[in-house]
Symmetry: C5
Subunit: 99 residues, 5 copies
């Protein structure tokens, strides 16, 4: 999974019918300090994530292994909202502190 | 999914038989300002997108999860035409305004 | 799918048995002008493409969705020979003219 | 599979329900000398790997082929802890010596 | 498939149980001249390849379409040992000559 921050939303009215009801989130990849780094991707939301939250997203066929994305033409899904992470014993991000 | 602009079309008469009837679109990836950025890809069209439109495309096995691409050797599909997107609360693209 | 030119062939006698009879083509990725750009890949041939032809190839599990590659350890397949493509209304490539 | 070092852990309480009980590891890719090189990824742990260990991870649908990740929205899994590797006959890494 | 040279081997005793008996090879990607170029990957061996040999490997779900890797958390497999390849009519590599 890739670590990213939800930075926006996207709206589409004309789409493959099975995508109806899915929310599209714009994700900015971040580094282990939580800073923007790398590209962005548009992902379906399986966990009611909001703008500003740090999340994990899964890509490829794994993006269809959620209740909301099963059998849909979706190749990226936010499947976890991140509470915190540690690197080499140091807390690098803790939700609520670094937002 | 990846954000892209439809910039062209491609024709092939000699192809895997199951691909008959699919339309190939040439997509240019764009950044969050809607400007060309990154590479291009050729995708099948599942939503009757036209040249000049901003779209989302899905890759890999997810590209086969549409009525038009099911069980076909297709690894990229346009599955949504984009109406608008917002980043950090600002509307960055709105169909009809920025075209 | 990715646009590429067939630039060569590859022979292997010792391989997974299911690959017997498949032809391996060496593909050079090209840009929208048809010029070599980016990397190369080795793909199975599903459409009897020849050296010098512009083709599309599909990657990943989609590369197994042809009659010739079904259930085989093949992650790239040439599934279309390109006749022509247009970008922003201009014909950028037409088979027979640009070869 | 990709060679990486476990450098941290990540916690998420709000996630796709099927992910409950999986441990998330932060992996730093390494080169053949075992030095950090390239990006990082967050992977599920299928082999009880610990911080500091050299591991292999598998991506994509293959990341779901473990007892712990089957049918889950998981696109990267640690499926082996590395004991040692050799390049051109030289031992480049041996667990316990280079940690 | 990607062209690579087998440059080493890797040993893991603690791994997903289904991986028992598979041999891990370290592969260095090569260019069309057979010279090291690009990254490396660790792949399972389906064709009894040895260090120094030029091979093709398949990635993703296609890496599980061999007798040895079926249903295993393996995302890269050596599925062919290369005898020779030609580019634009010139033999660029022939086994036994260039090793």
């Amino acid at each position: 999974m890739i670590l990213a921050k939800v930075v926006g939303t996207l709206v589409s009215s004309q789409k493959e019918q099975s995508m109806d009801g899915l929310k599209f989130l714009i994700l900015q990849q971040v580094d282990l300090s939580g800073q923007a780094n790398g590209g962005f991707v548009v992902a379906a939301d399986a966990v009611q994530a909001g703008v500003g939250e740090m999340v994990l997203y899964a890509s490829g066929s794994s993006a269809r292994q959620t209740v909301m994305t099963d059998k849909k033409p979706c190749d990226a899904v936010v499947m976890a909202i991140v509470d915190q992470w540690e690197v080499d014993g140091d807390t690098k991000y803790k939700k609520g502190l670094d937002d």
